[in-house]
Symmetry: C2
Subunit: 412 residues, 2 copies
Amino acid sequence: MANLLRATAAWGLFSCRGYCSRIKQGKLSEDFVEALKAVVGSPHVSTAAAVLQQHGHDESMHRCQPPDAVVWPQNVEQVSQLAALCYSQGMPIIPFGTGTGLEGGVCAVQGGVCFNLTHMDRILALNTEDFSVVVEPGVTRKALNTHLRDSGLWFPVDPGADASLCGMAATGASGTNAVRYGTIRDNVLNLEVVLPGGQLLHTAGQGRHYRKSAAGYNLTGLFVGSEGTLGLITAATLRLHPAPETTVAATCAFPSVQAAVDSTVHILQAAVPVARIEFLDEVMMDACNRHSKLDCRVAPTLFLEFHGSEQALGEQVQRTGTIVGHVGDGNFHCILLVDPEDTEELRRVEAFAQQLGRRALALHGTCTGEHGIGLGKRQLLQEEVGAVGIETMRQLKATLDPRGLMNPGKVL
Amino acid sequence: MANLLRATAAWGLFSCRGYCSRIKQGKLSEDFVEALKAVVGSPHVSTAAAVLQQHGHDESMHRCQPPDAVVWPQNVEQVSQLAALCYSQGMPIIPFGTGTGLEGGVCAVQGGVCFNLTHMDRILALNTEDFSVVVEPGVTRKALNTHLRDSGLWFPVDPGADASLCGMAATGASGTNAVRYGTIRDNVLNLEVVLPGGQLLHTAGQGRHYRKSAAGYNLTGLFVGSEGTLGLITAATLRLHPAPETTVAATCAFPSVQAAVDSTVHILQAAVPVARIEFLDEVMMDACNRHSKLDCRVAPTLFLEFHGSEQALGEQVQRTGTIVGHVGDGNFHCILLVDPEDTEELRRVEAFAQQLGRRALALHGTCTGEHGIGLGKRQLLQEEVGAVGIETMRQLKATLDPRGLMNPGKVL
């Protein structure tokens, strides 16, 4: 159990769509709204209550806090002009992709302008010889893999939701394939970023898509996982992988959670090249049986997937035949059903989430393996990285965003 | 050829040991030297000319610029006290490991105190279940793998030299195994860093060694490759890998460089899980034949290595049997023999190195795949990341090192 917990904890909570605590309106001057419209055109600016509400929450339990306006820039030049306009007016900027986050990262805690980037949905370049692709923020994981279908390549990072790839970079996404292919962090080669004041930064230099570099400070790494608090990601250069020739799946039930975790450690120590290992406990297995009308054994269960050539997979599965689910990289989720109208239940769930995070920290783990810090885990982050760590992050934030307008109230 | 060059360029140049351009001495006050001795003890401070000279260069062609004193701290508390002392006195700080760098990173261009960290050589923790180890700066790559011999685990990042692992983290080292195991960047889980003023930072939180995290800004990534310009790395938590059951090597000669490079791209596109792919041109093959009394064909040649189980390797080699040199990750080195006394030859070599870097940049590559920027590639870095990139790096540097005393004159 220690191994499971030592690693990382994250949790997805039931959606709170539809109950917003407040809709602030009329905060923006008419002049300011006109200035936004002058950049992107009238149809691409909205201050309608329903639109604001829709942009004030993600799929987590965090209460909706709508922005004062939503803009849909059509290209990076517009993002840059809008950012310069907002920054000069002291207006908070909140980047928005598919809204599938789980840490309240898009809540407009101080109001401001939400930048919905989904209209920028082009695949700007595909380099099959160099295994790289450049995507705008509106391109989702599934859209990219559909585009790649006949290329022999694919993008394996899979957090479940059909998220925006740039949003995945912003939140440090991971998912079930991380055992073999790494997380989004390992697969971003370059980012185009609009800095708070509107300047355009290419974290690894314009147009570059090399596999490795030792050239100066790792700006790409700094912006991956920064949750929109340092700038707006307007394009990501991603590393692609050869599509597996064959995929084989296996499941195995265990008498206890400990036995399943011990087996995971043994599989990894034996260098069995597994692509995914997912774990479901007996309660989740029971729920899956009911939902999908299955007849699986109600016991702690590992789900494994192997990618490779037919012959190699035969051997891998044969090894893993007698022993053998995100446990492969030590990440687990607790999914709790919650009645959002029941404040007492919400309180208990929040307390449980904090407790779970502290348990992971006590075992030398992290409070968030993916989805980021957002609103809910700021206290846990302080406990995780310590006073000097937080102070260093604050200094970096203040350097790049001196007025504190980029997605305020998140992370720090 | 484009593929080879597009990727990354780095070069190692013949050692310049033994010819120092200047030995500055007597710059330090007696009081200051006494204060250094009070922290680490008299035997662990030296201002002897030969010692200073020995610490003023690495294995590159960059001219030796010795520090004003060398200190050998015995533990992190002493590093912290020494750094606070130097910083308060406006004295530059230059971290020193094994001195095997190739970009002049240890040259004391403004004088100052060299911190030789090799006396801190403990392996502080080994977690075989979590595949992690914590090492001090005096632990080299080979020393770690000797220690791990019976554990079933190993640390695969191999830049050739038996470098300090913390030094490898500081310079963003890579090497021949990067195709399969990634570079040092992919294998550092946490760093203990003494900040310029003496404060102790744990980039991923104290004692943490998780595989992945989305917790706040990626400080670990920022310090990896920062070349001692943001702080002193006093311990590194590294990711270990299962030792391969079997290793198989293969070589293949090609009619041209282009044919060898095209084959590399095909091997990688076919997802053949090769661990190393190294390329030697015909001139290098001829030199190897003469040096090692071999009888290899004098032609562009790829060297491949496969890691895995016996059965899986049989299949991999069978695929790669008909076609099959750091080309696997697109990194290459030019090794030039140079007479350090011949200034005209030195000038020509420097011009060639700049030209080579520019060629890589023109092909969307990087001027340094490993070894970092150091002294020689600062102009190329500007060209690579552009004005906003350099300005962002300058701001980060100024934030963490406001007096500009950490390894001055490097990178920026």
